[in-house]
């Protein structure tokens, strides 16, 4: 899909949010990646053009960050499995192995039908919810091998799949726009406060524990 005037306009809008437009480069790269499926020369040139940078300057940035794909377009869905120590040892390694076998791809690779890109990911800041999987970067917390396989099957059949702390997944390219800061209207789609986040509050309420009363002694 060629980059359109509309994409350029969105990039200019992002640049206008900042005191210095160059601050929008990371968000802009997410937007052009959502169009192109990767950071290719057209994507680099558009960002350079909008910000008045050289293509070398933009390339230096694009190659630094792991979310930008350099070599091939990403699949319809990005499947991430945290294999850092905690998630990995508590089950993430086995989840990744099962998905890798089922999809017949390794980390960073895309299935031949273009449907899935599988990736070992680093700590996703949800260690309380280990093992953590992501679909299009939405949280699929406390996953099991069976859950992960079921999720893949449902996505392969184009069924609706809802994140544990997030909305129904919409594809990796749509998420790239969200991460760029373009409103997707889904902020209230899911509560995202689950039993694990409430664990301490529940114990406190059971035991009648509270913070000090501000009225007293202040």
């Amino acid at each position: 899909m060629p980059l359109t005037d509309q994409t350029a306009a969105e990039c200019r809008d992002l640049a206008a949010r900042y005191p210095d437009g160059r601050s929008a480069l990371l968000p802009m790269l997410h937007v052009v990646q959502s169009e192109e499926g990767m950071i290719n020369s057209a994507a680099i040139e558009m960002c350079a053009d909008v910000l008045g940078l050289t293509t070398a300057e933009v390339t230096a940035v694009a190659t630094f960050y792991t979310m930008y794909r350099q070599k091939s377009p990403g699949g319809t869905h990005h499947i991430g499995v945290c294999t850092n120590t905690l998630c990995g040892l508590l089950g993430g390694d086995a989840v990744f192995a099962a998905l890798s076998e089922r999809l017949d791809v390794g980390s960073g690779e895309t299935t031949p039908d273009g449907k899935f890109t599988l990736e070992r990911i680093e700590c996703q800041a949800a260690c309380t919810h280990a093992p953590v999987m992501t679909v299009d970067w939405e949280y699929f917390d406390c996953t099991t091998i069976a859950d992960a396989i079921r999720t893949i099957e449902a996505l392969a059949a184009d069924e609706m799949v809802v994140a544990t702390r997030g909305p129904a997944v919409r594809g990796w390219r749509a998420t790239e726009r969200t991460v760029a800061g373009i409103d997707d209207g889904l902020a209230d789609e899911a509560r995202c406060v689950d039993a694990i986040m409430l664990a301490g509050l529940e114990v406190a309420k059971e035991k009648g524990m509270t913070a000090p009363d501000p009225g007293k002694g202040a």
Partner: protein
């Protein structure tokens, strides 16, 4: 020591993240109060409270604010560090999901104090949900008059930009974060100058963690003496602890600094299946591991250092006796190797050397000499790298050797997966139960 829910107190409200819910529980009253107070007095209050940065370093927050030069004619900026990427750290994203307005109210109060009219919330790129939720909440706050021009008639103008990153652990380091926010490769800057003097766009900038700023409204609203009723003299106040690993009920537990890991572990139902703690890390993979011997150590910045570790992000990870130390350490080093930004030689080269050697041990191919060589390589990195990432990478091995030497010696011949059955370490069934 009891739990003391403050930031988390109303998370069980079905819509805790909305402006309505936040206001129903007293939200934005601290802002009205602060805006009637001289900015220097707000800084003084936060100084007196003793609030310390919750991103890992524990630097006194009010002191950091006071470093921003005043009447210098330059714009000032507040940058909130929401790049939560430290392995084990998982408390800022829950705060942004469940209580985003505490962060926004904290931002407005902070900007009043440091005389900033532009704030940024830098959120790591791999988490769309907190990005969209913060954006919506900023829009809500703006519509309610808590952001924009002349906020509550105070004369303060403030805009907040929610900014998504693109995948790079190093951007949690404050100067790398600033370079990233300027649209560059996220590599750390030489200090000095510190951000308070030359930060974002070379202007005076305060960089604070999400939890730090989210604590500010409660301190302003309830007062210094209330805040200091919790915690200790040098480590006052409440803290959002995220307890993870082989525990019965992993999750978010809010309690004063000074609570012990043993107490937190009791609240979390103990180690799974009545097992024992083998090792635990108080705050992320970058701090030295401790054992069951330290379960009674008060979780304060000072006491944990005295015990040989660091409080870090205050997000303890606990592992039981089914866990291979060799495998755990190797995996963390693989992470540091992956995330080293490449700017300085000790970290770039050192993380490769350490990890390559560790991987041999993990496969049961270590050598006696390398057990000691690794200590030496780590010493060559420690204190010699450009930023704390190198120090972090050099940290985990030596304490693990001191505590579990026999395991490293066993790894001269025995692969980690033979010494410790990976299926036993897992908390989920090892087979899918569907098909094969």
């Amino acid at each position: 020591m009891p739990l003391t829910p403050v930031i988390t107190a109303h998370w069980d409200d079905p819509h805790s993240y909305t402006l309505d819910s936040y206001r129903r529980h007293g939200g934005y009253t601290a802002l009205a109060q602060a805006l009637k107070t001289d900015p220097d007095e707000v800084i003084a209050t936060v100084k007196e409270s003793g609030l310390r940065g919750r991103g890992g370093a524990g630097f006194p927050t009010g002191l950091k604010w006071s470093f921003v030069p005043q009447n210098d004619g330059r714009p000032h900026y507040l940058v909130v560090n929401g790049d939560e990427s430290e392995p084990g750290a998982c408390k800022d994203i829950p705060i942004m999901l469940a209580n985003p307005h505490a962060l926004i109210e904290g931002i407005v109060i902070t900007c009043w104090a440091i005389r900033a009219s532009h704030a940024f919330i830098y959120i790591r790129g791999e988490v769309p949900m907190p990005i969209r939720r913060m954006q919506k909440s900023v829009a809500e706050a703006r519509a309610a008059g808590y952001l924009g021009k002349n906020i509550l008639g105070s004369g303060l103008d403030l805009e907040i930009v929610v900014h998504g990153g693109a995948g790079a652990y190093i951007c949690g380091e404050e100067t790398a974060l600033l370079d990233s926010l300027e649209g560059r490769r996220g590599q750390p800057r030489l200090k000095p100058p510190f951000p308070a003097v030359a930060g974002l766009y070379a202007s005076p900038t305060v960089v604070n963690n999400v939890e730090t700023i989210s604590s500010v409204p409660y301190i302003i609203k309830n007062g210094v003496s209330w805040y200091r009723e919790m915690g200790t003299e040098k480590s006052p106040g409440f803290k959002v602890w995220a307890v993870s690993g082989h525990v019965t009920r992993p999750g978010i537990y809010e309690a004063p600094l000074g609570i012990t890991m043993g107490e937190l572990l009791d609240y979390a139902g103990g180690i799974r299946d009545g097992r024992d703690v083998k090792f635990w890390l108080p705050g992320g993979s970058s701090v030295p591991m401790l054992t069951a011997d330290h379960l009674d150590t008060p979780m304060t910045y000072e006491a944990i250092v005295d015990a040989g570790s660091m409080l870090g992000t205050g997000t303890p990870m606990l592992f039981d006796e089914t866990t291979s130390v060799v495998k755990a350490i190797t995996r963390w080093l693989e992470f540091y190797r992956h995330e080293s930004c490449g700017k300085c030689t000790p970290c770039r080269e050192g993380t490769y050397w350490i990890t390559g050697t560790l991987e041999k041990f993990q496969e049961g191919r270590g050598s006696q000499d390398e057990i000691e060589d690794l200590v030496e390589i780590c010493n060559q990195i420690m204190g010699r790298s450009f930023c704390a990432l190198g120090d972090a990478a050099a940290t985990p091995y030596a304490p693990s050797l001191a505590l579990f030497r026999s395991e490293w010696e066993a790894a001269l011949t025995q692969p980690a997966d033979e010494a410790f059955d990976p299926a036993a370490t897992m908390i989920i069934p090892s087979m899918s139960g569907v098909g094969a």
